[in-house]
Structures are given as C-alpha cells and as structure tokens.
Amino acid sequence: MKELGIEPVLLLAQIVNFGIILFVLKKFLYKPILSMLDKRKAEIEEGLAAAAKATRSEEKQKEKEAELLMQAKKDAKAIVDQAKKQLEEQKKQILAEAHTQAAEILAKAKTQAEKVAEAGEESMKSQAVELATAMVEKVLPDLLSESDHRKLLAAKLKDMEKAVKSIH
C-alpha cells in the first residue's frame, strides 16, 4: 500500500471523518431538509387535492345549475303551451258564443219583421173591411127601393117569428 501512496492511518482517519460528517449532516441537515421537503410535498399534494375537489365541486354545481335551468325552461315552455291552449279554447268559446248570439239576433229580427208584416197585413185588411162597410152603408139606402124594403121586412118578420118560436 505504501507503494501505491495510500497511508492506512490517514485513510482510516478520513473514513472516520467522512463518517462523522455524514452522521452530522444526516442528523442536522438532511433530516430537517428532507422533513421540510416532505412537508412541502404533502402540503402541495393537499393543495392539489383540495383544488381538484373544488374543481369537481364547481363542475357538479355547474351541472346542477344547468339541470335547474333546463327544468326551468321546460316548466316555462309547459306554462306557455298551457296558456296558448287556454287562449285557443277561449277564442273558440267566444267565437261560438258570438255565432250563437248572431243567430239569435237574426232569428229575433226575422220574427220581428214577420210580426211587422203581419201587423201591416192586419191593418190593411182592417182598413179594407172598414172601407167596404162604409161603402155599403152609404150606397145601400139609395139602392133599396120601397118594394125591396117591404120584401126585407116580410122576411125579417118571418125570421123573428121563427126565433120567438124557438125560444118558447
């Protein structure tokens, strides 16, 4: 070994020194630093997990909101459709009522017109009868001669005789 230039005592001393330094570094430097690094790593991992959790939670929330929005749109559409249907039905009802009323008014007007026509006819008939009667009353005295009166009286007296006999 001396031929290679290696001093065994020195080597041993160096090995011991190295050992002591390694021990000291390990105890007072490596362990705290490693522990700190582990701690930092754990914190970072924790943070990442929390962020991932928050992201998932946010996504779930967004999904929920989207679902609620869809449901709200569906409900709104249903309400609008229902309102349209009701409006349509009301429209039909109003139209039917209007038709019925129009038909009633027409029927009433027709009846009224018929009544007016009837009354007019009655009036004309009445006037015609009145006129005819007046003409007879006016003309008859000049038409009937004395002998006509006698014949009439004879007939009437006979009728009177029959009437009196029928009473008794």
């Binding site: 008939k125 009445s126 009868v129 009145e130 005819a132 009667t133 007879v136 009353e137 008859l140 005295p141 009937l144 004395e146 006509d148 009166h149 006698r150 009439l152 009286l153 004879a154 009437k156 007296l157 009728d159 009177m160 005789e161 009437a163 009196v164 006999k165 009473i167 008794h168």
Partner: protein
Amino acid sequence: MKAIDTTKSAFVTSAVALTASEKKQLEEVLSGSVPGPITYSYQVDADVLGGVKVEVGDLILDSTVASQLKKVKTILEK
C-alpha cells in the same frame, strides 16, 4: 090597494115606416112570446139600413141590415 101595472113597452125601429099589416104581424109575434099587455112605439131610423129591431124589456130582436153588416165586418176582421 093599487093594481100593479104589468104593461110592457115595445120600441120598434125600422128603416121605413111599417104598414098596418106589418105592424099587426109584428104584434102577433110579440104577444106570443111576451106575456101581458104591450104598448108599441114605432120609429123610423135610416141608420138601420133595412129590416126591423124590437126592444121589449130585456128582450131584443134585431133583424136589421145594419146589425148583420156589423156581424159580417167582425167575421172579416178575424
């Protein structure tokens, strides 16, 4: 005691004055249906147009042309 007067009054209306025989015929007809004595009152009214009308109390015998014309008018107006 006073006797009750049962004489009835007959009012005869015609368009022309009745002859004596017509009056007699009329009186015979009435005496057959109205009991008791009757006094006759004759009047001429051109408005009856023809025929004769007799009124004795509640009994009215109307055979005038005017009344028949009225009946015809009523029937036509219906």
